[in-house]
């Protein structure tokens, strides 16, 4: 068993991964807005410019299109850029470089090139940043063949997955949750890489399979605790990588439980939950004892006001209620 290590905040796990990979490989370079002296608006790059210099850690102008496009170009010539887009909402500016260029360049060239770039960005709501600074758009990128999409929750996982993302020869969209950078969890001292495309069973159980990721996983775990007191045993699975999706781990769990709930902070329509349920129903209906359920946000731009935002986002009670329905 690995050393559970010390407790770190999520931002530090990201920083550790960046630092370790930069020490290991000179071609790993960073740019993004305010990532230098400022250390990034969420502190994920604090101290890295001091350690690695202004050449390898660059403050970028407010030019998302070029921030991402320049990363693609540099990646073609063998650099490993890890760029930070300050809010996932602004990935929409960077989307041409990511979705039209990075995702397709290798395929269109008949496999001549590779694009080992990572696009990191804080997503998600819950902090009162309103409609244009709170979105969860992981499903947009999952829909683009040629991109890998990672949405970690636990600091340890974030570090291990980011390291793998940096070493991966394909473009990776790496979404962090903006309300989650100060979340604490254990992280081993020694280096650890976690494979992209492999889910993790966060809690074992026998009655219901509950799939969730990013910050929303915390509410899933909270719901699982609550329901254990009611005598319902829940297996909580964090896919961690949404594309490629590790369906096998979910199916193994369903073979035990026969019941599926998927919860994510994004709203349901065309969300990744829909895809997971579709894949289960399409190929593995025989495993199911009840209709699967989704727990997600209301389909509405996120409002600023606290009572409204609370009403819009899923929480542990919503998840628990859905679980009670599938076990009924």
């Amino acid at each position: 068993m690995t050393d559970r290590g010390r407790e770190v905040v999520f931002a530090q796990a990201i920083r550790t991964a960046l630092r370790e990979e930069m020490q290991r490989d000179e071609s790993v370079i960073l740019w993004g807005q305010d990532i230098g002296v400022y250390g990034g608006v969420y502190g994920a790059t604090t101290g890295l410019q001091r350690e690695f210099g202004e050449d390898r850690v660059r403050d970028a102008p407010i030019s998302e299109m070029a921030i991402a496009g320049v990363a693609v170009g540099a990646a073609l010539l063998g650099m490993r850029p890890v760029v930070e887009i300050m809010y996932a909402d602004f990935l929409m500016h960077a989307a041409d470089a990511i979705a039209n260029q990075a995702a397709k360049w290798r395929f269109m060239s008949g496999g001549q090139f590779k694009v080992p770039a990572v696009f990191r960005s804080p997503a998600g709501g819950g902090s009162g940043y309103a409609a244009q600074h709170s979105q969860n758009i992981e499903s947009w990128f999952c829909h683009i063949p040629g991109l890998k999409v990672v949405c970690p929750c636990m600091p340890r996982d974030a570090r291990g997955l980011l390291k793998s993302a940096i070493r991966d020869d394909n473009p990776v969209v790496f979404l962090e949750h903006k309300s989650h950078y100060t979340y604490r969890g254990p992280m081993p001292k020694e280096e650890e890489l976690l494979p992209l495309g492999k889910a993790d069973v966060k809690r074992e159980g026998t009655d219901v399979t509950l799939v969730s990721w990013s910050r929303n996983l915390l509410w899933a775990l909270e719901a699982a605790d609550k329901l254990r007191e009611e005598g319902v045993s829940i297996e909580v699975i964090d896919p961690m990588t949404l594309f490629p999706l590790d369906l096998d781990t979910i199916l193994e769990s369903l073979a035990k439980t026969g019941r599926l709930v998927v919860s994510h902070e994004a709203h349901a329509f065309c969300g990744v939950g829909a895809e997971i349920i579709a894949q289960v129903v399409e190929g593995h209906m025989d495993l199911l004892k009840a209709a699967p359920k989704r727990v997600s946000a209301v389909a509405c731009p996120l409002p600023y006001s606290e009572p409204l935002e609370k009403a819009a986002l899923p929480d542990a009670d919503d998840i628990a209620a859905a679980v009670r329905q599938v076990v009924r």
Binding site: G36, Y38, I62, A66, Y129, L308
Partner: protein, 330 residues
């Protein structure tokens, strides 16, 4: 100074104070008491641009602003209580609590919105100007943004279209020296921001943004010209924000005393007070009365906003869709 000019300066003074006190309330009271969420971007130090430029607008004109919008919106006459209530997330807020500090808007005042997605308001303002022109209306559109926004592709694409299509829009860039932590040295290949318009064949000027009278005079002339000719223009005002980028900024990117020194030298409100004494012979007592009066106005709006109800969660999705009935066939 002519008496009308003195009257005007007093009017500007009142408006600048209203903005300053409004934001000081946010900084000194609402922040420690957690009366708003997320963060709020204050324009303390930049009031002369807001007041000078907005007062040069006509009633039929429209404006677009940014995350740093309190100056523009209040100068245009946004209701203080409605603005406070919005920042508190109350149902009586100007956007019914949906938007918060970064999104103040008021259609009735021609405030088409505050856009915190940096640069994205520039094409939108250009489009509004296109509509005004095609509808044969006489207004212009004024678009405020920071110098950081001039590095966005949206800005350059819109500049070109505005000039290409002869649109009645004036771009007002407030160069407050920092885009969050990033100073011009780090982010601009060339510091002559006004020159960027030249490549698009657009008129442009660079001016002191700390002198409200100069801002007003220059904007009046420029807006008037755009009104007559339907040609766009770019104005770059040099200014400075005395406080953090937003209410949770560490400010570790600038020397500790820099803001204090610039404040001492250039505070646009002190500037007006000096004018009062030196050129206008305004009785200092009168300035004190004005300050007390405006402070009172801000305080009472704040108190009323604090009493306002929270939005009902059942109304969450209200306002998402426009009521729309399209008739197809007979």
């Amino acid at each position: 100074m002519r008496p009308e000019r003195i009257e005007q300066l007093i009017h500007f003074y009142r408006d600048m104070l209203r903005i300053r006190y409004f934001e000081e309330k946010i900084l000194n009271h609402m922040l420690p008491n957690r009366l708003f969420r997320g963060s709020s971007h204050l324009c303390i130090g930049q009031e002369a641009v807001s007041v000078g430029a907005v007062h040069a607008m006509e009633e039929e004109d429209y404006l677009f602003t940014t995350h740093r919008n309190h100056g523009h919106t209040l100068a245009r006459g946004m209701d203080l209580e409605g603005a406070f209530a919005e920042i508190m997330g109350r149902t009586t807020g100007v956007c019914r609590g949906r938007g918060g500090s970064m999104h103040l808007a008021d259609a009735s005042l021609g405030i088409l919105g505050a856009n915190p997605v940096v640069g994205s308001n520039i094409p939108m303002a250009t489009g509004a100007a296109l509509a005004l022109k095609m509808q044969g209306r006489k207004g212009i559109v004024v678009c405020f943004f920071g110098e950081g926004a001039m590095n966005t592709g949206a800005c350059h694409e819109a500049f070109n279209m505005a000039a290409l299509w002869d649109l009645p829009v004036v771009f007002v860039c407030e160069n407050n020296k920092y885009a969050i932590s990033v100073a011009e040295d780090i982010s601009m290949s060339d510091h002559e921001l006004q020159d960027r318009a030249v490549g698009y064949g657009m008129e442009s000027y660079r001016l002191d943004g700390m002198n409200v009278l100069e801002v007003y005079d220059f904007c009046s002339a420029t807006f008037g010209r755009t009104r007559r000719t339907s040609r766009p223009a770019l104005l770059v005002f040099d200014t400075y924000r005395f406080v953090g980028h937003h209410t949770s900024d560490s400010e570790r990117y600038r020397p500790k005393d820099e803001a204090i020194e610039v404040f001492r030298e250039k505070d646009p409100i002190h500037f007006v007070e000096r004018e009062f004494l030196e050129d206008c012979h305004v009785d200092p007592e009168q300035a004190v009365d004005i300050r007390i009066d405006i402070k009172q106005e801000v305080e009472s709006a704040f108190e009323r906003a604090l009493e306002a109800p929270w939005p009902d969660p059942a109304t969450l999705t209200q306002g998402l869709w426009a009521e729309s009935e399209v008739t197809c066939g007979d």
